[in-house]
Subunit: 226 residues, 2 copies
């Protein structure tokens, strides 16, 4: 997949100036969240300083990050909220329609299925998978639950490109591999284990216990905030 298509039209897009670092990408999500809030409040424009202040980021960093999207700001004026939203969405791949499969409809999985945030960001959870016969065949919200045996089939028929893993750590490696083999290109992993998957696939990890541990460490050190 790495260099499959000879030239993936970067040259058609003159405004994407510099490549986007991970640190910048993380902040772009933050900006987007705040910009949407501003839009709901009918705010039309904002300066790098104001945007930074509301998120605990310096104005210089905001400008640098936004410069990655092209020359969107107007000197002496600031940025258009609407225009920033469009451009961040575009660059973050939100223009695409992402079909998501949830694997594991236990406590956490159920909570994630009911979580509104994914849909608001444009992700569509198209199905869930579980191995408990009492859950299979049922629905949570309007998402159907299929049996683990139907994983590959579901990925295929529902054109799933992202998987969410909300299953025990011991089951995670095998299921992750099955998702990858079935053609899923990214996994959001809630199982507390480092996945090693053969093939070309992205993994993002969310370890809830580790997050709480980091918080405790900050408190113990008296670091405050972060």
């Amino acid at each position: 997949m790495e260099n499959s298509s000879p030239s993936v039209g970067r040259e058609n897009n003159p405004q994407s100036a510099s490549p986007i670092s991970r640190a910048t990408a993380v902040r772009l999500s933050l900006y987007l969240r705040e910009l949407r809030r501003l839009q709901r409040e009918a705010v039309a424009g904002i300066s790098s300083q104001d945007l930074g202040n509301s998120l605990g980021v310096s104005d210089a960093v905001v400008r640098r990050d936004l410069a990655c999207l092209g020359q969107l700001g107007r000197r002496g004026v600031g940025y258009s909220v609407q225009e920033l939203i469009c451009n961040i969405c575009e660059i973050m791949g939100m223009a695409r329609d992402w079909h998501v499969l949830l694997v594991g409809a236990g406590n956490l999985g159920t909570a994630l299925l009911r979580y509104r945030g994914f849909g608001e960001q444009g992700f569509r959870v198209v199905a869930a998978i579980d191995n408990d016969p009492r859950r299979v065949g049922g629905k949570i919200g309007d998402v159907e639950i299929f049996h683990l045996d139907q994983l590959e089939e579901t990925v295929e028929t529902r054109q799933v490109s992202l998987g969410i893993l909300a299953i025990p750590a011991e089951d995670a490696p095998a299921i992750a591999q099955r998702l990858a083999t079935a053609g899923v290109s990214g996994i959001l992993n809630f199982a507390p284990i480092t996945l090693k998957i053969a093939g070309d696939i992205c993994v993002a990890n969310v370890d809830l216990a580790a997050e709480l541990q980091q918080l405790a460490f900050s408190v113990a050190r008296g670091t405050s905030r972060r």
Copy 2:
């Protein structure tokens, strides 16, 4: 709180060599998770290379990180799993007893209450808070649910030092401030909003939609892994 006690006995502890960066602290959580797994499998010792390999971290980084804890390794041999676990727990503040209050017993809150991981890391969820009268007075697992009005009282009587916020974004700022004022020293925030709290308090944010967005970005960019 910053410089309250004149000298907080760093000098009594000759082995803590260098200060611990955030990047290192995050990895220490990872090491701890893996080391506990090794311990369950009765593995007594491990080299920086093997530990790094299992987590996707280079051996040099592992050695550097572990050197922050003191001289724990033996040249030509490696590290003692048991000894590393003890030292990481100590430095991460896990020796302490952390009392945690969950605010918001909705979908996500309930899932977090039932999540085993926190307890396994030594955190004790001592109570939950909600404003829905149908939930108040009930229990989830063996954790009692109190009314929002009893927040301050609960923090006091149960000696809560960490709060978990699983409530809508619009309610989060006010509740976070109440937690801080009541004496909580850290907040794990699941609400998609940047908290600004008066007083000395640590905040760690987990934005589930943003995590999925980062994953989509990686996929869109063809970055693979991370």
